[in-house]
């Protein structure tokens, strides 16, 4: 039963990945405009005359020929992908998209990875406490506050924080990932600079994200607290802390846990707005820049990366669920 379930899920994710790759291939070809024509138009606008045939040929060799047979284009595209080749950036010509992505990825992983884990830990812990004593003073304050918090647009919180801590108080830098005067490397000054630049973006992410975890965990805990096995554990005279965490929270955590696995998948593309507000040099900012400058190959590459990361995380979440919840195993 368990294997049948796993095989079905695996099949679904393979199909989804295929759909994502197909979408990534088709989308730019269905939409008006393509990189080759954009470059040709730009060249013609600048030079004021028609692009020579050889130049046209070489542009199309690099960025693809929009008039080629669609099946041929798709075969070329797949061949490129299988080599990990995401094409060449138009704006930062001739830097490969893969290189730009490789530079930006560590920034995003560090910032969003740590904040996702922190927000999850804080939110889940507070959620258990609030749900355990539903109606207590703590619950009466925390729950409405986080409700409000989860309705505030994130980028607005970030702007506000930047204004207060960056502009009014001057505690944090206003943009970037590190001090531009310093060279990148393993020096103390550089590490301090990275921390200094990262603390405000990180704080805003944790601040706006922990509320969601809190609410979910609170409501699940409220439900499990009334279950018979919790009552039994209490009747056995186990310490309240033990009952709260080992019995109630452990079972209430299941949905939160899968949510967490998926959130980790969102880490790659999740901090889009953060990175834009703080001009942080990660994947999100890369995507934003490519959108602004209409760098199609870069848009494609970043989008594919984000999608595949999300699919992988979902698969992991599914697998974890099977291991954690015996009911799924039985049902198949």
């Amino acid at each position: 039963m368990r294997w049948a379930f796993l095989a079905r899920r695996l099949g679904f994710y393979l199909a989804a990945a295929a759909a994502a790759i197909g979408l990534n291939f088709l989308l730019p070809r269905l939409m008006p405009g393509d990189p080759s024509s954009a470059i040709v138009e730009e060249l013609e606008r600048v030079s004021g005359q028609q692009v020579p045939a050889e130049t046209l040929m070489s542009i199309r060799a690099i960025f693809g020929n929009p008039h080629a047979n669609l099946a041929q284009q798709f075969a070329d595209y797949l061949r490129q992908l299988s080599h990990g080749d995401l094409g060449v950036s138009v704006v930062n010509f001739p830097v490969p998209v893969a290189d730009l992505v490789r530079q930006a990825l560590p920034w995003t992983l560090l910032l969003v990875g740590t904040t996702t884990v922190t927000a999850f830990a804080i939110g889940t812990l507070l959620g258990v406490v609030a749900g355990w004593k539903a109606g207590s003073r703590l619950d009466a304050i925390l729950t409405p506050f986080t409700t409000f918090l989860s309705s505030v647009p994130y980028f607005w919180v970030a702007l506000l924080a930047l204004w207060i801590f960056g502009f009014v108080l001057g505690w944090t830098p206003l943009s970037g990932g590190y001090d531009a005067d310093l060279s990148q490397g393993f020096s103390l000054a550089y590490a301090v600079s990275v921390l200094h630049h990262g603390v405000l973006p990180a704080a805003t992410i944790v601040f706006s994200a922990f509320g969601g975890w809190l609410l979910g965990m609170r409501n699940m805990t409220v439900t499990t607290v009334r279950e018979d096995y919790v009552l039994l554990a209490q009747a056995k005279g186990l310490s309240p802390k033990r009952v709260m965490f080992r019995y109630a929270a452990r079972n209430a955590m299941l949905p939160s846990f899968t949510g967490f696995a998926m959130a980790l998948g969102g880490v790659v593309g999740g901090a889009l707005l953060t990175e834009i507000v703080f001009s942080y040099p990660g994947i999100g900012y890369l995507l934003y820049e490519s959108l602004q400058k209409r760098d199609y190959p870069m848009m494609q590459g970043v989008f594919l990366l984000i999608t595949l990361a999300v699919l992988l995380a979902n698969l992991v979440a599914d697998l974890a669920y099977v291991l954690l919840d015996p009911r799924i195993r039985a049902r198949g």
Partner: protein, 286 residues
Amino acid sequence: MLKSWKVRFGLGVLAFFVLLAIVGPLLPLDPRANDISAISQPPSAHHLFGTTQFGQDVLAQTIAGARGSMLVGILAAAIGTLIAILVGVPAGYFGGAVDNGLNFLTNLFLVMPVLPLILIVAGYVQGTGPFVIALIIGLFGWSGGARTLRAQSLSLSSRDFVLAMRMVGEPHRRLIFFEVLPHLTGWISAMFLHGMIGGVMAEAGLAFLGITDSGSISWGTMIQAAQQQSAVLRGLWWWFVPPGLCIALIGTAATLVNFGVDEVSNPKLRQARRSVLVRARKAVEA
């Protein structure tokens, strides 16, 4: 349901903003008028919410923004809810191959990262008006709702009254429209509310990324304009605080309505009132 203060408060706030969106243009405030004598002014008696760096009245813009944001929110919610019904209900009702196909589609949209996807699509059709933006948001935001509706209609279609009607020989179409759908109205309206808030937030996010037409006025374009003109770095907080607060208020109101509705249908979630708790504690101690 109206007894819950959460539902009443939430509906009140929502009604206020809907009203604002409708009557806003009738008020004697011009969101585009440039008052050259008052540029980047903090709130004052003359301009209650202050002015932008173009000398435009922030209060007038906030009111006009209500219309822009609500329009996108409502349109996106309508499109998203409609698709959710069209995909989710038949999947649950018919089951079998229909379900397999539709469920695959739903799962696919469920796992795809929506924001980057919307970004890419919106990026290709850059600088579009509210209708296209609403369409894009709706097209990518229906999957959660479809999943819920599928589960609900799956359970409905096997209940006795539907089975009985089916035996009598009622056609499927009639069964779906007159037996299944009416029982889903609660879910559907909650979904619509949810979608509306999601639409308002998504529009704000897209506007902030500079994807919507900057000529239209919404809370999102206001915040984006403030960001573009470095309002943060120049301390013009009154420019971006009101639109953000409005979005937050609407979101909170909708969440409260949902909470209230949940508590009515699931009494376990209902908080004991503090007075009851205190009385219970005293009784135990006595």
